[in-house]
Each structure stands twice: as structure tokens, then as C-alpha cells.
């Protein structure tokens, strides 16, 4: 099929394999090995997008990841991924691409009116224009700006792809596989060091893949690449990662790589991840990121058909694509001349080489003359014409006065430009290194290494093939030796040709046009012009950090890799200060845009986090139980019978427990086994309560404070033997309690002979609560006399449950006679099923966390973290009884004595009863003294727990209220949107105040 701009031969594309793709619905053809950009160019398509702010027609500027203009959306799996760079998209059969930021079509875009209105959009226009009225911002300005400005549209459906993760270690990580990177990887690998070589492109080789004028060891550079890659592939100590971007350099030589696994495939296997995040810890890093060419800043330098010279050369030599039939080359340096020569050699008419320099090298002029190419030295482009593609260029002659005289007009259908080269110092900068200005190179270069890295080749402005190879070998060898101590004798390949050349320019070119009317773009993606940068300086932005934020230059996806140096020079010229005084902004991670999917990785859906299930889980699922999430745990919330809603189910469960017996899965409570001769002494110091006199076989409620004196956890602790305690903690607090205990034990009381072991998951725990609890469990328990005298409230004994060993506690969190049976986890299902099956027969019920909460609230038992918030002391909570006042010390004892903690006016734990027994207060609601407090009145406290109590046949609530203990009987108010609710302050125990139910 016709690809009018395809060369007859050459390039690395597979001409035997033709691929069909669409762009904005129109069908085109390309070849395997093309990028979307090269395939579009082969079809003569330059117009690929509209610019961010002015909606100006834009074409393909570069051939790499720095591409600012050619951002497209790719359709796949019924949805599109926006903002992909056409220069990086590998062509596959059936690829569907769309252009962005245009309406109704790319060719005719109504947003282009912004370009005509551009005097209204100067630098900083957001700050200036949309200031007033304030209320317009959310509803008027922002929606308009958002719809007019911008890039692609986000995908609408959940991401269907999967993303993998891989942790890796190596001696030497080489980022970039151009001549220096390949040489570095080879040199490092030959020592036997473990090497990872990554490159963002599909093929290794970098500039060598488009080199036409050089040889290495007498071979074509591409052949040398092939042989080198083959050698590296064959080595077990080397991992080669093409299509992999080193996008983040973090602390301690931790480097993140993004590998694109399937984006280039027409029909990827669904078992493959789309991308893989490599998290690499490298002993040494070699940054071989190369350099990128700088655009020239002249009026209308953004017209489709205008491209970086090296990109034009790459499309020709690597992809077999001519960027035009009549090409003008504008340059300030030698390298662009080679692009002109290559094009001429492929039969493209090079209409002229326009060089800013008064005297370009004679040898280049001679070669141009030999090819019949017109050369204009001391000449610049001062403008371009053509609507959706360049048609001609205006030339200007530089006068000795500094003025520019018109140099006529020249027809062309493509313009290749080169302002020189900018070393890519992004990774070095990310490693926290400070770049250093090298005036002789006109570039910022990597300075002192802060981490274990070294830059090599063009990324530190070493240019020329031979120099880059040598520098790469040396860097690889040095890195390998530093990392592994290994050395090897390495044969350096030597290159001929591919000379460095000279020249280069920074900043805006002079011209003879009306400066207030023309746009010379500095940052293409963000539509920032030379004029904007100058305006920003005039308006007082003197640091590059301010200029960047005011104009948005350098804030596009390339982070200013294309624009920074030109912007800096313009600012420095306007300020009349050296560039070093204006400064350079810091490059940050990620180097190129990186998908959210890559960062999210496996953390989505079922694997977002571990879901912890107890042994009763399956039974609860099968019996229609409803779960709630408590930290990572799934806990049974309530067990509705057919026709019951939550309220009805909880009311029934509560009543059944109070009247008969209930079964509750308490396995999630934290459990710590505290063992050793000093176990009691340790607990004595940790908890507020006394422990030394607790007899084996007995339990005690334990209250844990922090050293500030505030409640942090609680739980029942049973003494199994002189030197062994079974400590329970709250479900959510388990890890922190253990960590806190370890902290004190290891760093304050390391002399104590006691050790802590988490047994949370060792035991499954069934709580059996209710007046019939004893008779219910009796048939299953052996070896323990359950009678009230032999096994009173707050006891623990070891025996068997259905023949398997158990730890039986007689404890209660409901206020009823209660037992908690602990069996090894492997017997958890058996225990639960046995008890759950039996309990229905006995008129009892399984119950969930909601009923547990109601029952404990009826008894005024606190839930740490719900009724307390980290500022509640035991005295505030009315739990002074839990404090061993005679103890010499415990964690929190001194804190409790602080002036602030014994002062008047502290918020204290109380009960609340609404005057209307049907109204249930909202947890978190504020409490006030007056019915209708004035705006700004401070609350007296807030509601912490609130339920309907089946036992009391009314609602109940718990709260913390300023001086609450002294306010019992007072009426306070809970103001709500529907009106203020009067409440009476009460004690916290609503049910069985004497505790008669416990001691039966």
C-alpha cells in the first residue's frame, strides 16, 4: 500500500510485514518496527494534535520519550489510554489511535480561537484574569478552563490490565543502551558482576540504530549493537530490559524501572501483565541517558513539519521514512548537517542549510557543496508559513549590529532544526546530585556523586562515538569493580566516524518581526513562548523556580528537558544575569509519565490488602451472617433470620443473650503469651493494675496506658502459671501493644527475664455468654469443674473441649455469665460448628459484633478507640479502680499526676439518656449546655457510643462530657439539623448495676 514518504530501502523496519492501523478513524499502513509516529510520517501525516492552551496545530517534534506534541489516545479493550507519545508507541496490526484536545476534529478545531485571542492569555493569566468574583471560580472559570485546556480524556472503565512487580538486586544497573550504555554494560558484565541493562526503547542501541556515518571495529554500528546484545543476552549475570524506563532514582541506590510488557503486542496473552514495576537495589548505577536535541526558538517554530534534526535523521535511517520532500535544515551546530547529508543521499531535496554561525566548519560546507546543497551561514529562520503544515520559511540575515535583515522566503515541506544538545541529567538530579554549569559546553552537567552512581557518555556531554564508547567501557569497569571488587581485561571496540562536532545555541533567536505579535515557543506542550518568559521576568519573577510556576515552562511531561535551557537563557538575558544566578529547576521522579496501574501493582481488588478471616468464616457465610471490617479482619456483624433487618436481628440477638445464651467469635482479639520468671513483674510495670498477687488460674482486667497517662488498650489477662500469662488485647490494638511491650522490655527493662510471643493466630476463641452459658458448654468440656465455687468469675483453667486441649476463661464482656474457649486454630472450625449447631437447638443464638457492642454499652464497658480517643485517662473514664495506687511505677503513672491531667474541667465518661426514649443519638454528635447555642460555642463533649437497648426497651448512649461525673442528672443538649435533642446525664452502667448476673 502507498506510504508516499517511505524510502526505497533501508531502516530497521520489516518491510515484509505490513500492518494496518487507524488514526482518527482513517486507515493507514505501516511496518513492523515502526512507531506510530514513524508510520504516520511515512504516510505524510504531520498534523497529529492541538496544543494545550492555544489549540495550535502541532506535529511530531522528536523521535523519543521527550515528545511534547504528538500525544494520542490508544483504544484497546473498549477503552482508551490517553496522552501516549506517538514516538514511543510501537505499531501493531489493528492499532487504533485518536488525536486529542480538538473539537470537532483535528483539522477544524473551534478551540483554535484561543490562538487569535492569545493577547488575553499572557503568562500568569490564571492569576490575573480569574480573580474576581471569587464565587465564579468553581462554577464558571474552572469548568471552562478545564474543558478548553488540557490533554486527552481519562479512560471510563476500570483498568482491565494487570500489573506485576519484581524486586531485583544487581551490582551494576545501566540506564540507557546507547553506545556508552552498551559499552558500560558489556564491561561490567565481563567482570562477572551482576548487571541489569534497561532502555526505554524497544531495541537496545540508542543513537547507533540511526547512525549512517560511522563504523565500530569496521562494522556497521547496528551490527555491533546486534553482536553486543547477543553477547549480553548469553551471559547469565546479565538481565536485559528493553521497553523499560528507569523513571525514579531514590535513596540508597534504589531505582524504579517501568517495563512495558504487552503494549506493543496486537493480541497480548491475557496471562501477561501489561507492565512490570522493577524495584532495583543496585550497588552501582551507570547513567547512560544520552542527550537530547534542543529546539530553536524562532517565530512559529511549532508548525507541523518542523522537527528536531536528529529526529529527522532517525526517521530516515532507522525507520526508512522521509520527513518531507523539500527539507530546510536550520541549525547552530554540526550534527544537523549530517541529517541534511543523509536526506540528500536518499534523494530528498534539501532546500538549504541555514546555520546561525558566521563560519560553519569548512569540511561540512564542502560536503554540502558536493551534494549541491545551498548553505546560508550567519542566517536564522524568522518565521514560517503554512496552515496545518509548513509551506515556507522566512530567513533573516544576522548583521554585525545585532539586527536581523530579511533574507527572503524559502519553500519547504519540512524543517529540521538543531539548537545543539542538552545532556539528560534527570536521573542524576533525582539521585540528589547538584548539576554544575559547564560554560564551554553550554550545559548543566552532573556534579559530584551523592549516591553510588556515575554518568557516562552524552549524559555528561561526552560526544562523539569513539569518546562515548571509551567513556562507557571505563564507567562500566569502574562501577563493577566498585560494586563487586571484580575486574576483567576488556577489549575495547573502537569506532570510526560519528564525530562530535561543535556548535550550539541557547535561548531565542533574533528576528525582524513584530515581537509583540509573533509566538516563538519555548515549551511546546504547555504553550509557553519566549515572550511569556520575558514578561514573567518583567513582572518580578527573578528565580527560575518562580518563572517556571508563573509561566508553566518546564512543567510539562518532559519536565523541561526540551525547554529548560532555552527558557533559562531567555530569563538570564532579560535579567542580565549569568544563567548560574537564575538557577535550574530540579528534575523529579518520574522521568517520563508512568501509569497509576504500575504504582498500584497488585494492590487492587481481592489483593488490595490481606483479608483476615477467622475459623468461623465459612459457617457464617453459609448461614447468612453479615460481616464488618475491623482493621484487616472480617468479623461477623449480625446474623439476620429471614425477614429481619439489622435492627431486628440485633434486638433478637441481644435479648437471647440476656435471657438464654449466645455464641460469639472472639478470635480476632490480640493474644500475647508473656512467659518467664519476671512475667508478673513485667506486667506490673506495663499495666495499671497489680499482677504479682494474682493467683495462677485467675484473671484480671488490665488497662494499658502510654507514659503520658492516656488509655491505649485494655483486655483480660489470665495467669496460667507462676511464670506464664495469657494476655488479650483489642483486635485493632494487637500489633501496637506487642510493639510497645517489646519497646519497654528491650530498651528500658532489658534485665527482666521475660519473653513475649504473639499467639493471636494460635487460638480460635468462642465466647459463650448468657445465663445458660454454663449448662450449654458443660457437655463439651472435660477436666474443669465449672461450678461457680470451683470456677468463679475471672478464672482460667486448662482442660479439653471435645477432647482437644483448651484454655477456658470465665470472663464476660456482656455482663452475663460468660466463658471464652480457646482451642488451637486447627480445631477452630470444629469448635465453632459444634457450638453453633448446638446453640440453635438450645434456644440460643450466634451473635455478632453489633450485639456485642450493645451489650457491653448497657454495662458501660469502654471500647478503646471508640469511647476513648487518646486523650482519656482512667480517671476520666471512671476507671480509677483499675489503678494499682500502691505500685512504685507503671507506664503512665507519672503522666497521670501531671497538672493538666488532674485539673478541673476534663472531659469525663458518662451515660446519656434522651428524654424521648425512641431517639437514638448519632455517634460523634456534639453536646452543648444550651438548647440553641450561639454560633461558635464550644462543645461540652461528644457522643461516643449510641444504641437501641433491647433490655431497657429504649435508646442509650455513652459520651465524654466536660466535668461529666459531677453533672449526673443535668440536662444537656445534642443540637442536630432537625433540632436540639435534650438528654440527661447518667452513670455509665445501664443494666444490672450490681453485677448480680456475673456471679452466678
Amino acid at each position: 500500500m502507498s506510504q508516499p514518504f517511505r524510502t526505497e530501502k533501508g531502516g530497521r523496519i520489516d518491510r515484509g510485514e505490513e500492518l494496518t492501523f487507524t488514526f482518527d478513524g482513517e486507515e493507514f499502513h505501516g511496518h513492523k518496527g515502526d512507531t506510530l509516529a514513524s508510520a504516520l510520517l511515512a504516510n505524510g501525516v504531520h498534523l497529529v494534535g492541538r496544543s494545550f492552551k492555544y489549540h495550535r496545530p502541532r506535529g511530531i517534534l522528536s523521535s523519543g520519550s521527550e515528545e511534547p506534541n504528538a500525544l494520542v489516545g490508544i483504544y484497546r479493550n473498549g477503552d482508551q489510554t490517553p496522552n501516549l507519545r506517538a514516538t514511543q508507541i510501537e505499531l501493531y496490526d489493528g492499532l487504533e489511535a485518536i488525536s486529542q484536545n480538538r473539537f470537532p476534529s483535528l483539522g477544524f478545531d473551534v478551540g483554535a480561537v484561543n490562538d487569535l485571542l492569545s493577547p488575553l492569555f499572557p503568562a500568569g493569566f490564571y492569576y490575573k484574569t480569574f480573580m474576581w468574583p471569587k464565587s465564579f471560580w468553581d462554577r464558571v472559570y474552572e469548568p471552562i478552563i478545564r474543558s478548553a485546556a488540557g490533554l486527552g480524556k481519562p479512560p471510563r472503565t476500570p483498568d482491565q490490565d494487570t500489573y506485576a512487580n519484581q524486586f531485583a538486586h544487581c551490582d551494576v544497573l545501566v540506564a540507557g543502551s546507547g553506545p556508552s550504555g552498551l559499552a558500560a554494560a558489556l564491561a561490567a558484565a565481563e567482570t562477572g558482576a551482576r548487571v541489569i541493562l534497561c532502555d526505554e526503547q524497544a531495541e537496545c542501541g540508542g543513537s547507533l540504530l540511526s547512525e549512517s556515518n560511522a563504523s565500530i571495529d569496521g562494522k556497521d554500528p547496528a551490527n555491533w549493537v546486534h553482536e553486543t546484545v547477543a553477547r549480553l543476552s548469553s551471559m547469565e549475570n546479565v538481565t536485559l530490559l528493553p521497553r523499560t524506563t528507569a523513571f525514579g532514582y531514590f535513596a540508597h541506590n534504589f531505582v524504579a524501572l517501568a517495563e512495558r510488557v504487552t503494549d506493543h503486542l496486537a493480541e497480548p496473552d491475557s496471562k501477561l501483565p501489561r507492565e512490570r514495576l522493577w524495584q532495583v537495589r543496585a550497588k552501582e548505577v551507570v547513567i547512560a541517558a544520552g542527550a537530547i536535541e534542543r529546539p530553536m526558538v524562532f517565530p512559529e517554530n511549532d508548525r507541523p513539519g518542523i522537527m528536531l534534526a536528529d529526529a529527522g535523521r532517525t526517521y530516515l535511517n532507522r525507520y526508512g521514512v522521509k520527513v518531507g520532500h523539500k527539507v530546510l535544515v536550520a541549525t547552530a551546530c554540526d550534527t544537523a548537517w549530517q541529517a541534511a547529508f543523509d536526506l540528500a543521499d536518499h534523494g530528498v531535496e534539501v532546500v538549504a542549510i541555514v546555520d546561525v554561525r558566521e563560519t560553519p566548519p569548512d569540511n561540512l560546507i564542502a560536503i554540502a557543496e558536493a551534494r549541491g546543497i545551498r548553505v546560508e551561514a550567519g542566517c536564522v529562520v524568522t518565521g514560517t508559513l503554512g496552515r496545518k503544515r509548513i509551506k515556507s520559511a522566512l530567513l533573516g540575515r544576522l548583521m554585525t549590529s545585532g539586527q536581523v535583515a530579511s533574507g527572503g522566503q524559502i519553500d519547504c515541506d519540512a524543517l529540521l532544526m538543531s539548537g545543539g544538545w542538552t545532556p539528560t541529567v534527570s536521573l542524576y538530579s533525582q539521585s540528589r546530585g547538584k548539576v554544575v554549569w559547564a560554560p564551554e559546553k553550554g550545559a548543566f552537567l552532573p556534579g559530584i556523586s551523592v549516591q553510588k552512581e556515575r554518568s557516562t557518555g552524552a549524559s555528561k556531554a561526552v560526544y562523539g562515538l569513539q569518546a562515548c564508547l571509551e567513556d562507557g567501557y571505563a564507567a562500566g569497569e569502574a562501577a563493577a569493580t566498585a560494586a563487586s571488587g571484580k575486574t576483567a581485561t576488556i577489549t575495547y571496540s573502537s569506532a570510526y566516524g560519528g564525530e562530535a562536532g561543535s556548535g550550539g545555541i541557547l535561548g531565542a533567536l533574533p528576528h525582524d518581526r513584530n515581537a509583540s505579535r509573533v509566538k516563538a515557543f519555548v515549551d511546546y506542550q504547555n504553550d509557553v513562548t519566549a515572550k511569556d518568559v520575558k514578561l514573567a521576568v518583567r513582572e518580578g519573577m527573578h528565580s527560575i523556580e518562580h518563572i517556571k510556576r508563573y509561566t508553566t515552562t518546564g512543567m510539562a511531561t518532559d519536565q523541561g528537558r526540551l525547554s529548560n535551557m532555552n527558557a533559562l537563557e531567555i530569563a538570564s538575558g532579560t535579567l542580565d544575569k549569568p544563567v548560574t544566578d537564575v538557577g535550574l529547576t530540579t528534575f523529579r521522579q518520574p522521568y517520563t509519565p508512568t501509569t497509576f496501574g504500575l504504582f498500584a501493582g497488585i494492590s487492587r481488588g481481592d489483593f488490595f490488602d490481606a483479608v483476615r478471616k477467622t475459623a468461623s468464616h465459612e459457617w457464617v457465610v453459609q448461614h447468612g451472617g453479615v460481616f464488618e471490617d475491623v482493621s484487616q479482619w472480617k468479623r461477623a456483624w449480625y446474623f439476620p433470620k429471614p425477614g429481619e433487618d439489622m435492627h431486628a436481628a440485633v434486638e433478637r440477638e441481644c435479648r437471647t443473650v440476656r435471657e438464654s445464651v449466645g455464641l460469639f467469635d472472639a478470635s480476632t482479639l490480640g493474644k500475647i503469651e508473656v512467659v518467664g520468671p519476671d512475667a508478673a513483674e513485667f506486667l506490673e510495670r506495663m499495666y495499671t493494675n497489680p499482677w504479682k498477687k494474682l493467683a495462677p488460674g485467675r484473671c484480671r482486667y488490665g488497662l494499658l496506658l502510654n507514659d503520658a497517662g492516656f488509655i491505649v488498650d485494655d483486655g483480660v489477662i489470665g495467669r496460667l502459671a507462676e511464670d506464664r500469662f495469657h494476655v488479650t488485647t483489642t483486635t485493632g490494638g494487637a500489633p501496637n501493644v506487642l510493639a510497645t511491650m517489646e519497646d519497654y522490655l528491650q530498651t528500658e527493662w532489658s534485665d527482666l527475664n521475660v519473653w513475649l510471643t504473639s499467639t493471636t493466630e494460635q487460638y480460635s476463641v468462642a465466647a459463650v455468654q448468657g445465663p445458660k452459658a454454663r449448662e450449654f458448654i458443660a457437655p463439651f468440656i472435660e477436666g474443669i469443674d465449672l461450678s461457680a465455687d470451683a470456677f468463679p468469675h475471672m478464672s482460667v483453667k486448662e482442660g479439653t473441649f471435645c477432647g482437644v486441649p483448651c484454655r477456658l476463661f470465665r470472663i464476660s464482656f456482656t455482663g452475663e455469665l460468660g466463658f471464652e474457649i480457646n482451642v488451637s486454630r486447627r480445631y477452630g472450625e470444629m469448635m465453632w460448628e459444634t457450638l453453633a449447631t448446638e446453640i440453635e437447638k438450645r434456644g440460643g443464638t450466634p451473635y455478632g459484633t453489633e450485639t456485642m457492642h450493645v451489650l457491653r454499652a448497657e454495662k458501660g464497658y469502654i471500647i478503646v478507640g471508640q469511647d476513648t480517643d487518646g486523650t482519656v485517662t482512667p480517671y476520666d473514664a471512671g476507671m480509677g479502680w483499675a489503678i494499682g495506687k500502691k505500685k512504685f511505677d507503671f507506664v503512665g503513672k507519672r503522666g497521670l499526676a501531671r497538672t493538666d491531667l488532674v485539673a478541673d474541667g476534663r472531659k469525663q465518661f458518662v451515660g446519656l439518656l434522651t428524654k424521648d426514649p425512641k431517639i437514638r443519638l448519632e455517634e460523634g454528635a456534639q453536646i452543648t449546655t444550651s438548647e440553641n447555642p450561639a454560633t461558635g460555642t464550644a462543645a461540652e463533649g461528644h457522643v461516643t457510643s449510641s444504641y437501641y437497648s433491647a433490655a431497657l426497651e429504649r435508646t442509650i448512649a455513652l459520651a465524654i462530657v466536660k466535668n461529666g461525673h459531677a453533672r449526673e442528672g443535668q440536662t444537656l443538649y445534642v443540637p442536630m439539623p432537625e433540632g436540639s435533642i435534650p438528654v440527661e446525664v447518667t452513670g455509665t452502667v445501664f443494666y444490672d448495676k450490681e453485677g448480680a448476673q456475673l456471679n452466678v
Partner: protein
């Protein structure tokens, strides 16, 4: 399996089908075990080793095995003792009987965790999908045992062969750990 360190201690549970069975990687559930946490100072190490029948290793991250028992170094005063499932009471009682004097702590943690066996030439690749440790044979030789993190879950890994690892996780974390390993292995089946 006898060439493996844990060959006599940790074996696949024949009652359970493998979680993964590919030419390059397989994952199977290990048989239930006796696991004991032994804690003590230097004065208890020798006696505990004598009682257990396996000297407690003192080199960091190392293990010692004898017959069907193994002692794994977990920390400077912490060892995990492994034995066949039915030896729990024997081992517990023997150690407690012999260690009347030096202070120590012995706690049954048999059911706290479950073990899976990850093996095959892709075993290290698979584990490195979620574990940030250099698992090369040089950095993590056979016999190395350590606690670490697999994605967001705490695990213990023990290299019992060049291509075989025991991965031990708390029971409620094991579905997360094994599930993610199986998911990561999916691409090994891709054409």
C-alpha cells in the same frame, strides 16, 4: 526431597492438591507441624539444644536440622523449633523438664502459621515478585532463614534447596501470600 535441608521435616501435604504445578514453578501446602517458639539467653541455648536434639544455631539467619527436627534462628534470643505434628507434647515437655533452671520461654505456635513449599527454577523469581531480598545463591545461600515482608504480609522464608523455599505465614495471611504467588506465576503459562 531428601536432598533438601527440610526434607524430613517439611513435606507437601498429600491430602491437599498443589496450589501451583508448572514445569518451572510449583507451590504446595506443607503438612501441619509442631512449631515452638523458644526464647532465652545464652545460658539456656545449650540445654535447650540438648533437650530438643538439635543444637540451636547461633549464627544469624541460620538453621540446624537433625532427622525430622529443625531449629531456626529468628533473633539473638529467639528460635523456632520444628518437629513432626504429633511430637508437640513430647518436645514441649522434654524441654521444660530439662530447663528447670535457666530462664526461658517456650510457647506453642504450631497453629499460628501455615507453610507452603515454593520450588522450581522460577522459585526465586516468583518470591521476588513480593520480597525485597536478594535471593541469589551467594547472598541467600541454602539454609538461610529469615522473617521478612511479602508485599504487605509478614512471612518467614527458609531456603531449603537451591530452588526450594519454605514460606511460612500467619494463617490469616496465607491466602494473601499464596494467592499472590499463584497470580504472579500466571505469566509463566503465557505462550
Amino acid at each position: 526431597m531428601s536432598d533438601l535441608l527440610a526434607g524430613d521435616t517439611i513435606t507437601p501435604d498429600a491430602a491437599k492438591s498443589p496450589l501451583l504445578s508448572l514445569p518451572t514453578a510449583s507451590i504446595s501446602t506443607a503438612v501441619p507441624l509442631t512449631r515452638l517458639s523458644f526464647r532465652g539467653r545464652n545460658d539456656a541455648i545449650e540445654a535447650a539444644g540438648d533437650a530438643f536434639g538439635v543444637a540451636l544455631p547461633t549464627a544469624p539467619l541460620s538453621c540446624a536440622t537433625a532427622g525430622s527436627r529443625a531449629a531456626l534462628w529468628m533473633g539473638p534470643d529467639e528460635w523456632t523449633l520444628l518437629a513432626p505434628e504429633d511430637e508437640l507434647k513430647t518436645v514441649f515437655d522434654t524441654i521444660e523438664a530439662k530447663l528447670a533452671d535457666p530462664a526461658h520461654a517456650l510457647v506453642d505456635i504450631s497453629d499460628r502459621s501455615q507453610a507452603i513449599i515454593v520450588s522450581g527454577e522460577k522459585a526465586t523469581w516468583l518470591l521476588n515478585s513480593g520480597i525485597f531480598i536478594d535471593l541469589s545463591a551467594e547472598a541467600f545461600p541454602v539454609g538461610t532463614v529469615t522473617r521478612t515482608i511479602f508485599h504487605k504480609a509478614p512471612v518467614m522464608i527458609w531456603r531449603t534447596g537451591i530452588d526450594t523455599f519454605v514460606v511460612d505465614a500467619w494463617v490469616t495471611f496465607m491466602p494473601y501470600v499464596s494467592g499472590l504467588l499463584v497470580q504472579a506465576a500466571e505469566e509463566l503459562e503465557a505462550a
